[in-house]
Symmetry: C2
Subunit: 471 residues, 2 copies
Amino acid sequence: MRSLVLIGHGSHLNGESAGAVYRYAELLRERGLYDEVVEGYWKEEPSLRQVLRTVRSTDVTVIPMFISEGYFTETVIPRELGLGHQGPVPPEGVARVLGGKTVRYTLPYGVHPAMSEVILARAREVLPDLNAEDTALIVLGHGTTRNQNSNRVIYGNADRLRDSGHFAEVHALFLDEDPKVGTWPDVVKAPRVVVVPFFASEGWHTLETIPEDMGLTGAVTEFADTPNAPQTVYYAAPVGTHPDVAEVVLQLAQEARGASGAGGDEDHGHAAAWNAFLALARRGTRIGEAMITPQAGMYELRHALDEGRPAADLQTLVTVEGLRDRTRRDEGGHHRPVHTLRNLPRGWRAILTEAELPRAVHNLYPAVVEESYAHHTHNLRATPWPTTARRQTGIYTKVTRATSEQVEEVAQDVCSKCLKTRLWAGERLGSTVFSGVPGAIPCPEACTLFIAEVREEVSGKRGQGGHGHDH
Amino acid sequence: MRSLVLIGHGSHLNGESAGAVYRYAELLRERGLYDEVVEGYWKEEPSLRQVLRTVRSTDVTVIPMFISEGYFTETVIPRELGLGHQGPVPPEGVARVLGGKTVRYTLPYGVHPAMSEVILARAREVLPDLNAEDTALIVLGHGTTRNQNSNRVIYGNADRLRDSGHFAEVHALFLDEDPKVGTWPDVVKAPRVVVVPFFASEGWHTLETIPEDMGLTGAVTEFADTPNAPQTVYYAAPVGTHPDVAEVVLQLAQEARGASGAGGDEDHGHAAAWNAFLALARRGTRIGEAMITPQAGMYELRHALDEGRPAADLQTLVTVEGLRDRTRRDEGGHHRPVHTLRNLPRGWRAILTEAELPRAVHNLYPAVVEESYAHHTHNLRATPWPTTARRQTGIYTKVTRATSEQVEEVAQDVCSKCLKTRLWAGERLGSTVFSGVPGAIPCPEACTLFIAEVREEVSGKRGQGGHGHDH
């Protein structure tokens, strides 16, 4: 049995941020090479602190879904996963045994040599008949990030693609360092030029900066007055959203596992939690704001406030993904980075099989079954706020400066809207879903939404509306 | 059967604002002269638009719990109650038949001549041996409000108390008009001076302005250098919070009813709604976020998220008032002006008799049973937003300027947190609590919280944190 974990950044504000990771997880699930594909996020749920607990097997490969190495892949993710590793990740990855699970942490997908294939695929999308006679390729990187490896990755891809013989010329250009992208007319000779942005997703740079710096007017731009005019530039979509990234992820994961054989076992704690939960579900149960009702061999999930509402008045969902997407926003359309906030939208019912139920409940309330069962069986350890605060780095270092009054003030705003009981603040919780109390959910550690709000509080920026924390 | 309705201002922000009206309602209930005493508020629930629907009998006397006549007693309350009356209320009050109920609307308690007794009672609290030989009384009013009657009320009380012979001198002085309170040393001759502020409650004026203007240092202040020194000033509490105001209310109500005999009948619609609800409760039911369970001849109410939680882990409440006070704030300690916002606090259970249950549910979800039953029986009429907006006066007149986009924007923030379904915006609601759906609650008209938020939106002040609307 083998588990694949994809790590994304996520967002406290933007409901679309996790979309790319969702899609890769779906593609990889369809491939069926892993018994499960689980997502974890810095700013959403399951969080980096929770995600390993939600994994079913003892053989776990963790892929940071980032385009380049940097602060998140080298500092935040290893720290939050508890890998006991900081700094550059070696090519073979980092392997640890954590809580009985073998966890392999890899380099981000973007540094894998197979990304050259994705660049080529993106190039072919905009110029199917690209060829070595008349076509130049520009691999376009950001450059000058904190991590010096990022331009090496661009050069490496350019070298490989030059060697591949598909293009007349291949250039590595950058937005923020030399050689700058604006110099392309001086260096590119071929009449047809494909530009592939080596970026994670569409955004400010791909939609604004690059077109402006290059003088592009759309997917195809004719240039009549460049030194080598006439030239036509074909502007490709960013590599980070190409479906073939899923193949790169599989290669990365395969290489990290090396010759480690048939995989692991089912994790006992995980299995016990879900078996106990399924036993509840078979009798009908409630968890958080939701209720689960066995129905003709299937299970119906709905908001408990919708109990008794005729099915015709509700939107019927029949897939785990449909349920996930329907409950991603509250009734006002606001993103729900923390799923246990008491704002689960109403108006839907999901009809699912018993095989689908665990993943549906996992999406609805990530890590709640595992953490609740651990609490129920006295195996959940709380992390007090000072420990969480001291672990923070970067812009969050300053949360250690929060007084206990400030922490409580933030809790009164943020946590008072949440179902969870703050074990990390010394609150007691005598029940759980497993003793039949739907709203009794343990919170063993402050979440990143809370941490971000404490940072705003310490910075004197809270209560000014429009929270800007999304780093 | 007779119903007494007390109208308070209430507050969207301050959970203590309704406290005085709560207390008078409790005192009047204890007196037992009315079959019920119901409160209604401009800024809380039940709202002025809802309160008459929540009344049990067809004989209704409505007392505005204000210290003086003015904008609220002459414009806002009559308009929102639908009395078809605007402007000064005649001494005998205004009587109307509304929805089969005889509704008598009186002057505010503060203008009743019996307030002179309350002034005397306040004076005796600070100076029990006050007498006609050595004691002067200052009746202290605000003065210069929009309504010219307010100083006449002060003079009237001063005249009556002068005639009563309890004091050596009686003076009417004012904060904001002549004769000003600061002139007291020139006009008051007696060595002992009692000052009774004719104000609704303790506040900025009674705690800061008056002591400063008069040179007071506490409840008792010695003056050695006034023209008539030595003089001692005894500073009384404001009249508006004295328990005897309840007697004034009873007199007002009695006079409004005049010779109208034995009272009214039980209102059919009201009785039908509550009989239907009690039938549900006897089997156990859920309403909003709460659940009601019959238990050994009593009823237990608790938050549905606390279902199954051991009683020992919950705070047990045994009175309607205890339940009201426990659920007045959310889990973060924030005031809950709208009870159907999805922030009912957890952690309590109330054990009540069947006789207490209706009032408990009324406090938990004011007007929800009546409005839900009306909707269930197709008798609830929705008021579209434009009608609500056009009805507004004063600072709220500008809400008519809101575009439909602005109205929706506010709804996405405010209403998305509320259990109710906006019939006033054309939303459909096919179920109610009476068809077994706990979260299906009709909203026939925009509430004052919504109106206030639309005003902020139109003024460009929303989303700046710290909403200031409380007018």
